[in-house]
Symmetry: C2
Subunit: 336 residues, 2 copies
């Protein structure tokens, strides 16, 4: 009798908590408006059995750009900061680089100058800091950096600078059976180090720019993989749908981006049958984050360009533009 | 009162079915022996909380070669059969190929001659039948072929020729929280077409030899991807751990293969910490399937070579060799 009563109570608790979840706002950091409404309506129509736009569980794929979509990308991508801040260690290991450009210049630490490095020179820094080591060594280096590195403006770890409203979208989609993927122009191996802890996304759900690896053996015969300067996937622009095909093999039902680099991913997503959700984060909040454009007269920038052409395509193709200023009640978890 | 009693009954049913599952043999098509024992012990020690070799849910990755490990690979890989059987359609679309080798020879249908095609000529056939079309067109072509093509020996669809004992291993591992991946030298796009239906494995858990795709637009502006003759990943031998790193990003805890092409995947798996399960399917059953070697004096073959060196490494590194003849009670689901 005791156990039957006990089960009865458990059932009550279960039903009560179930209804609480249903009643709670899944997106509390969003202001009411067309952006929030688009997300909630998409989830409802694609997950309600019998809905004409119902999507079976195995097809629920959602892809997210990272830099500028899930976390801050200004004034410089965090991975580029990682590479620059690794230069002293690289030069310590290879002292002959001390007087060789661009290493010499990066060693001065003058970020105003470093920010103007031509692409060709920057690639030398990326190669020296992202390749040549074992996969495990690289993971350890990134982990160590993340534990101490801070964003200059907020003086906080990069992990703190994820957008709370987007974390809520990730969680809301997953709670409704969507597999959430990061599809980033950034380095796949870099983002994978912290994706689980930061976004709840496992390594195999991070698609990014990827180089080849080389299989070899240590002296004791133990096999290991070395990161090579051989580009396999440039996961930016048209490379995003190509990366999605390579790594996922199915067209997403929802895609989120913030720049011209995400255009093809959103087009590819929208071109599928049935309900598709395409959203662009628009950085129009200089007070709480950054404002960059050039849409609505904001200045063009090197990082994360949201061009007028992209804005026009969003209007024409039915994508939703998220205004950070108007749609987001809070931006960071540390905001009041 | 009614609902409490009802809940009590449901609980009874739940507990009863739970115990039935526990008591059932998860591998009924396996004979008792060291191979079956190795699988069961591995699952028990990696999934029992408190076990020194417990593996957290997020790290439970198991990888399976396909041809010769999950289904029949003799006398020719099924994907090669697909390519050869597509040649008439290719020539119909491009009549100028009718008198060009190797197309002319393949059109004769003389498989004894075709089987001896040099690699360079075979690649021309693969390129003509695996690239140049849209991703969707290729998927439709493979689906159509699978619905009618038959293996010459059994006169059954290729889907019927999966090994029942290996299907049980896939299911058993998944029931214990393992994510099961196919890691094949075969074409990723090819295997993905039927992996869900045949093995219960979704497209994103199929890693295979992969070519690039090209993003473009149809006349109406709809974007699509074209399969290109540009190799991104040769997922064989050392390419298997490289492919695992690219697509999964973590070292498997269990790996299954059957040939020299799987050696590095098994080495890489075994080199990880804690419990690792590495197994090789050995084809020693000419009556029920095929026997090929050259281990134990069986003749070497072009397809799926299991060399003496591989056999020796298995003994030395603690991999388990599965004898189809002795370890498998039934091979196919249609066996009596």
């Amino acid at each position: 009798m005791n156990s039957i009563l006990c089960t009865g109570s458990l059932l009550t608790i279960f039903l009560a908590s179930h209804f609480t979840i249903q009643a709670q706002d899944p997106l509390p950091s969003w202001n009411d408006g067309p952006a929030k409404q688009a997300i909630v309506e998409f989830v409802q129509k694609t997950t309600t059995e019998g809905s004409p736009q119902f999507v079976p569980l195995t097809d629920r794929i959602a892809t997210f750009d990272q830099d500028g979509t899930l976390w801050v990308e200004h004034p410089m991508y965090s991975q580029v900061m990682y590479c620059l801040e690794q230069v002293p260690a690289v030069v310590k290991a290879k002292p002959e680089l001390k007087n060789v450009e661009p290493f010499k210049m990066v060693l001065t630490g003058d970020f105003a100058v470093i920010a103007k490095l031509p692409k060709k020179e920057l690639i030398k820094i990326l190669e020296a800091t992202l390749t040549g080591m074992s996969v495990e060594q690289f993971q350890a280096d990134v982990k160590k950096w993340l534990a101490t590195a801070k964003h200059h403006r907020w003086q906080r770890p990069y992990n703190d600078l994820t957008y709370l409203p987007m974390q809520e979208v990730l969680e809301y989609l997953r709670a409704n059976g969507y597999k959430t993927y990061i599809v980033t122009g950034g380095g796949q191996d870099f983002v994978r180090v912290y994706a689980k802890q930061t976004y709840g996304i496992p390594t195999e759900q991070v698609v990014g720019t990827a180089g080849g690896t080389k299989y070899g053996y240590e002296k004791d015969g133990k096999p290991f993989l070395t990161k090579e300067p051989r580009l396999l996937l440039n996961d930016d622009k048209a490379g995003k749908p190509e990366g999605i095909h390579l790594m996922i093999g199915r067209r997403p039902h929802a895609a989120f981006g913030n720049s011209d680099g995400d255009r093809q991913m959103l087009e590819y997503t929208k071109a599928g049958d049935g309900a598709r959700l395409c959203m662009l984060v628009f950085h129009d909040d200089a007070d709480r984050e950054y404002a960059y454009g050039p849409a609505q007269g904001l200045p063009a920038t090197k990082v994360g360009a949201f061009t007028q052409a992209l804005y026009d395509e969003a209007q024409k193709d039915g994508w939703t533009v998220i205004s950070m200023k108007n749609d987001w009640k809070r931006i960071f978890s540390f905001d009041e």
